[in-house]
Symmetry: C2
């Protein structure tokens, strides 16, 4: 059985004690977390329960236009007022530089990738860059939203804070 069919089978058990009233679509902690799609990251590492936060995830936990779109919707439509950006050590995007990563995909796909992959070398400066990008956006009113950045250390599980300057 493939992974998707296994997920559908598991969903049959999940629905048995599913309660639609249990979780509000408005994040209870008024928190939005932008982080990486990586297997080692989870809301458990942040002590978050279902319903506490919006979870926005992409390769790297990068502040892309799409992540900004999600954060704007999270804040202006669903009332979050804290943004937490979590990058992590040993990220796939750190394994090679942009050109090398592009070449790896091109070799296998037979086509070049039409947009940047956001490869990076130094995790601290990458995380700082994300925070800086977010805090300088004119759509985000700093007096209404707290923005903070962290690096999840996959060796220790700890979350040291990163400061933008």
């Amino acid at each position: 059985m493939n992974a998707i069919d296994r997920a559908l089978e598991a969903n049959q058990t999940f629905v048995l004690d599913y309660n639609p009233a249990a979780i509000s679509p408005r994040p209870q902690q008024r928190l939005a977390v932008l982080t990486c799609m990586d297997t080692r990251l989870s809301r458990r590492a942040l002590g978050l329960a279902a319903g506490d936060a919006h979870l926005i995830r992409n390769a790297g936990g990068i502040v892309t236009d799409d992540a900004i779109r999600s954060l704007l919707i999270s804040h202006y439509l669903l009332g979050t007022n804290e943004f937490m950006v979590v990058n992590h050590t040993d990220c796939g995007l750190q394994q090679a530089n942009e050109g090398e990563l592009q070449a790896t995909i091109m070799r296998q796909a037979g086509l070049s990738c039409p947009f940047p992959l956001h490869a990076f070398r130094d995790i601290e400066s990458n995380a700082r860059k994300q925070i800086q990008k977010l805090t300088t956006l004119s759509w985000i009113k700093k007096e209404n939203i707290s923005i903070r950045g962290f690096i999840f250390d996959v060796q220790t599980g700890l979350l040291p804070e990163v400061h933008s300057c």
Copy 2:
């Protein structure tokens, strides 16, 4: 205490039994799930354990360029070969049309949003559109990747499948 400080406090407990060897960065089920940032969606609904899959999440579970970037990295760099797109009923992006959503943000932010918010009305046609977009991408070799779409019903917890045509 604010939400981020609570998360950092919870992380102090999380690290006590954290085992860095427990989870591989390569998804064990070779699965990537693209879904919404919504509070009601979780890997539990799909029976997925930590380490099973890449989780890519944005407002709506939309196949944006950034979601495609993440999926390409997931497949070509980290070996996933099944893509599961999960949209859901009662999505925030369904509450109004694109112009109305843009106006809601503009009113509060004092600035217009520089990119589409991907508002939609009909969940089935929206989900079909996402699958169609993904299956027609030339970077994705259909013989190597299974792509399927679902709608999470927030009332029942069920996951009916959506077919692209």
